[in-house]
């Protein structure tokens, strides 16, 4: 078995203070390996976003261990956590979080700029990843002139531009219609496999199931189940999509 790129051992996370204190995670164990798209599914309030934040070194666990590429997160300060993020982790958000005043190309470039990659080489790299996600002809567009699906693909390009070993996505398809949702999930599956990267996507969208290598279920702060999905066997939504395309034509 390959060594995990991202690993949570017995992670507990308490949120809030005093009477409002909640144990959002109650001892979670999870390991992510390269080349896989993992889906994290569960009801609202079950702790999905909290777990994603902890795996992404945005929050630190109250107790338990988190390792990124073998490096322990415990005891790191905010700047050191930021360094871990820029070295290893890419993020995709439900509402894209693009910079409205920057073009698609600039939105990707700034993610490279943040990690110290500047100048012409960075511009080339940004263009390359935008082509990879199929936006080679939208480089100069501003987010307001892109569809939701295109915006999310810019966000995917931004997340992978620095070639992180892990991409974490929080409900990447929730704001998208079915067609665009499928396109983004297909893209995530591809960047996991083709680029040998670990991708974890939080979702409660059953349409996304067909793209997963592995589905992890969380309820009330605990992992309650896990299944592996043989690739390409069932993706009924894809069939649906093809049907609809034909109907539209």
């Amino acid at each position: 078995m390959t060594t995990p790129v991202l690993e949570a051992v017995n992670v507990v996370k308490e949120l809030g203070k005093g009477a409002g204190k909640v144990q959002a995670l109650k001892g979670v164990n999870l390991a992510l390996v390269k080349g896989e798209l993992t889906l994290l599914m569960g009801p609202s309030g079950s702790g999905k976003t909290t777990l994603l934040s902890i795996l992404g070194c945005i929050l630190t666990p109250t107790s338990g261990i988190v390792r990124v590429e073998g490096e322990e997160v415990a005891g790191k300060n905010a700047e050191e956590l930021a360094e871990l993020r820029r070295k290893h982790i890419g993020f995709i958000f439900q509402s894209y979080n693009l910079f409205p005043t920057l073009s698609a190309l600039e939105n990707v470039r700034i993610a490279l700029d943040v990690i110290g990659r500047k100048g012409y080489q960075a511009a080339l790299r940004a263009e390359e990843v935008l082509r990879e996600v199929g936006l080679g002809n939208r480089l100069k567009n501003y987010p307001s002139n892109l569809s939701g699906g295109e915006q999310q693909r810019v966000a995917v390009a931004r997340a992978i531009a620095a070639s992180p070993s892990v991409v974490l996505a929080d409900e990447p398809t929730a704001a998208l219609d079915s067609e665009n949702g499928h396109a983004v999930m297909a893209l995530l599956a591809r960047i996991a496999k083709e680029q040998n990267r670990s991708v974890l996507a939080v979702t409660h969208d059953p349409r996304t199931l067909g793209y997963a290598d592995r589905v992890v279920r969380i309820e009330d702060g605990l992992i309650v189940g896990e299944e592996r999905r043989p690739q390409g066997l069932d993706a009924p939504e894809i069939t649906d999509l093809t049907k609809r395309r034909k109907a539209n034509a």
Binding site: L59, S95, V114, D170
Partner: protein, 376 residues
């Protein structure tokens, strides 16, 4: 990319940008006017001292300024000074406030400057009509063309009365202004004495010129021990003393500097306010940057770049407006002065102001929680 983002953030909200720029511009113009008046006043106060060719000034004890020296020095001091080693020449000067009776009636105050140009220490400069020879002719004086109205004259040939005697305008100087608003009137040394009713060996100042190679400090020391009833000042000391007298004893300088400080304060507050609200509006983006792994330094740089860009744009506009006001003020009794030094200082001040303004915005982003990126 930092500059790009700062630039876009800035121009994204045009109204806020306008407010920021007005704030910076307002403070630059205000500070430029106040300091311009300060510089203009300083130049007026010191122009006579600056124009004189002398290494040391002998004044009566306690002479407060160029205009208030009294006519107390005698030929005794002059001879003592001349006998001092290292002294080449000792040129007497008579300066005093005097009453000027206008030809058409009414009176005003002038500063009468009695000097012999031949002595080579002080002469009326920027003569635009008449010559020194004309001023030497009987009853002759020179007046300045900016003060015709105050003096009640129309130009060359007009007559008036100064203190004890009749005078005739035989020469005109151009824009030699007086901080005290009492116009400068030049005449010869002896005529000044007689107009003022002073003895023919009296003087207000002795301007000491040294032999080449003489040590200023040594000569000054020697002069001090020889001249008991007088003070011996370097040119710089006398200039500073005149400045202190007119700008600070009278409170005028404090008012100008106070106005400048107020301008800085108001500008800083306006810029701080707009920068803070801009940062608040872009907080989600800063949180996103943080989630993408940016260091906090990177985010500070974006905010500082925003502040710096506002500063540069505001400065350019502010200086242009200030230069316009400067141009308009050139014929007023108090023309504003702008020097490269002041322009540079204003730029430094603008940058400093913007940097201070950025503090509240930076404190705001320091408290940013990158976890907020998931919750919107």
């Amino acid at each position: 990319m930092i500059l790009t983002l700062a630039f876009r953030n800035l121009f994204h909200d045009r109204i806020r940008l306008a407010v920021t720029l007005v704030g910076i511009l307002f403070s630059i113009v205000l500070v430029a006017i106040q300091l311009g008046m300060y510089l203009g006043s300083s130049q007026m106060i010191t122009s006579m001292i600056e124009r004189s060719k002398s290494d040391l000034w002998i004044t009566a004890f306690g002479a407060k300024s160029f205009e208030e020296g009294g006519i107390l020095l005698t030929s005794r001091e002059r001879h003592q000074a001349l006998a001092t080693p290292g002294v080449k020449a000792v040129v007497p000067l008579v300066v005093a406030f005097a009453e000027w009776r206008k030809p058409e009636g009414g009176s005003t105050r002038v500063v009468l400057v009695g000097t012999d140009a031949e002595d080579g220490a002080l002469e009326p400069w920027s003569l635009v009509a008449g010559t020194w020879q004309d001023i030497k002719s009987p009853d002759a004086i020179s007046a300045d063309d900016t003060y015709f109205r105050e003096l009640g004259i129309n130009g060359i040939g007009d007559t008036a009365q100064i203190a004890m005697g009749r005078v005739k305008v035989k020469a005109l100087t151009h824009r030699i202004r007086s901080f005290t608003q009492s116009p400068y009137v030049f005449t010869t040394l002896s005529r000044a004495r007689s107009l003022l009713g002073a003895d023919s060996d009296k003087a207000t100042f002795y301007l000491v010129q040294l032999e080449p190679g003489a040590n200023v400090e040594a000569v000054r020391h020697e002069l001090r021990t020889r001249l008991e009833g007088a003070e011996v000042l370097t040119k710089d000391e006398f200039r500073d003393r005149s400045l202190r007298q007119w700008l600070f004893r009278t409170g005028a300088g404090l008012a100008l500097i106070g106005g400048a400080l107020l301008g800085i304060l108001v500008g800083t507050v306006i810029v701080a306010q707009t920068l803070y609200s801009s940062t608040k509006d872009h907080l989600n983006e800063f949180a996103t940057l943080r989630a993408l792994g940016s260091s906090s330094g990177y985010i500070y740089k974006v905010i500082l770049a925003q502040a710096g860009l506002s500063a540069v744009i505001g400065y350019i506009l502010g200086i242009l407006i200030s230069l316009g006001i400067l141009y308009i003020s050139r014929n007023t009794p108090l023309p504003l002065v702008m020097t490269p030094g002041l322009a540079g200082a204003l730029f430094g001040l603008t940058l400093f102001m913007s940097a201070v303004s950025a503090i509240s915005a930076i404190i705001k982003v320091t408290r940013i929680d990158p976890a907020m990126v998931f919750n919107r």
